[in-house]
Symmetry: C2
Subunit: 296 residues, 2 copies
Amino acid sequence: MALIGIGNLGSSIARAVRSRGLVGSVVAADQSAEARSRAAELGLADGFVENPADAVQGADIVVICTPIGTYGAIAETIAPHLKPGAVLTDIGSVKQAVVAAVRPHVPAGVHFIPGHPIAGTEKSGPDAGSGALFEGRYWILTPLDGGDPAPVARLAALWSACGAIVEELPADYHDKVLAVTSHLPHLIAYTIVGTAFDLEGQEQRDVIRFSAGGFRDFTRIAGSNPIMWRDIFLNNREAVLEMLQRFSEDLSYLQRAIRWGEGDKLEELFTKTREIRRGVVEANQAQPFPYGGNGQ
Amino acid sequence: MALIGIGNLGSSIARAVRSRGLVGSVVAADQSAEARSRAAELGLADGFVENPADAVQGADIVVICTPIGTYGAIAETIAPHLKPGAVLTDIGSVKQAVVAAVRPHVPAGVHFIPGHPIAGTEKSGPDAGSGALFEGRYWILTPLDGGDPAPVARLAALWSACGAIVEELPADYHDKVLAVTSHLPHLIAYTIVGTAFDLEGQEQRDVIRFSAGGFRDFTRIAGSNPIMWRDIFLNNREAVLEMLQRFSEDLSYLQRAIRWGEGDKLEELFTKTREIRRGVVEANQAQPFPYGGNGQ
């Protein structure tokens, strides 16, 4: 296995597959000498290289684990070195843009199968990973039309063996659903934490002191990797803007209800949203992650 | 001690003071026969009554633990029965409106000291409480101008003995800070969960299935007591609308940056918000609550 990027997700995959003996050996590529050296100290892979092209030589499976803005250049770099019959996959939170960036470079005979584990934490770097990260979590694959189903089944079996629940979805539908479940929540969390940042002096300090009232949960989400999230928003623009528009309309409706003291409208919505919470609890997606992070 | 309301907060106070032997006896009033009977099964108080006036007879400390929309009527009902020298306090998330609703009814010789523990969970009812709820959490008191400082010190000592960090703040400043740290986050969480609720069929089911990507945290907040939160928004209208206006402006700025592909603006904000997260972690407000809930 070759891992391109050994941050939170890459190091979690390394830990998950190595602790379970699922692959023969792992080579990790990372452009950061600090990340490579720390990952080596942690014993996360059998070899470490700077250039992704050096990592993929002879690999049966290549997993791109970097912010999605880097995918196109990485695909171009590694393409000539990919082994015929290899599986190329990724962990990006957006899938249509990833297909557009990577597919043109994929040589015939290499199986490109885009993927996205709904798991992660707000922390970055090789120390942040966990081999238990994927247990009980969904891992979505968005195979290309007309691809060979056999390597998709092999990849699904690998991530299942890491504890994940693997599902196949069309890339455009994935992007639409994730805009609601992940991208919009992150955008809103970033916004409200930014709004609080602009308060001055004592007021900002007291917002931090009294953050346990709900704000605290938003700061955790808004502590996520800035480059990763910049790339997600730039690469799922249409779906995010569409959901943001709906959200803004709904927020204006509530704003008006507060201004005019329309308690019945507030109560009606707040009662309805409890149903969704019940659905999340019943779907077994409510329990905290074993290591205490939020999914991404 | 008399507790008016034996839901999540009332039952937590009962558990906290009784397990520590901080009061001689506790009488709880609740209009719900079901809540009284469940609280009796749990052994949460020494006596249970329906009418708050019956609970406060002879009580040295009276704590109102109901949604704040009920405070005015409760204060009017209990006023003639309050013992001279008694302390009357509450747990409401808004303080100016509480003072306006309660103070006119408070008889001379009774010490009215508004309070607000920054602690709670999204669950309701006597089963949801915990005697450890207040450990390491802030408990804000907003004493009235010109009041006697001695009973304020006694009340602060009581909540400190329950593990809380007691702070005094002016009521208007409390309401402004809580609008940012609690009320706006809840409003936004309710909105986004409502937006998702309006999706149809399979899409709504998939939003629930894949909720671990961030949305999950919002559903927990949006699973909170609808009446309690309706009353909070109606009673902290100005501060909430002011912060909501700032939030909307900031969100529009990000929306525009996404639409025009201005990655530098996104990255700049996402980097800035990490500082606030670091502040929350450093203030020891980032760790999960012992029983897994969110503060309110």
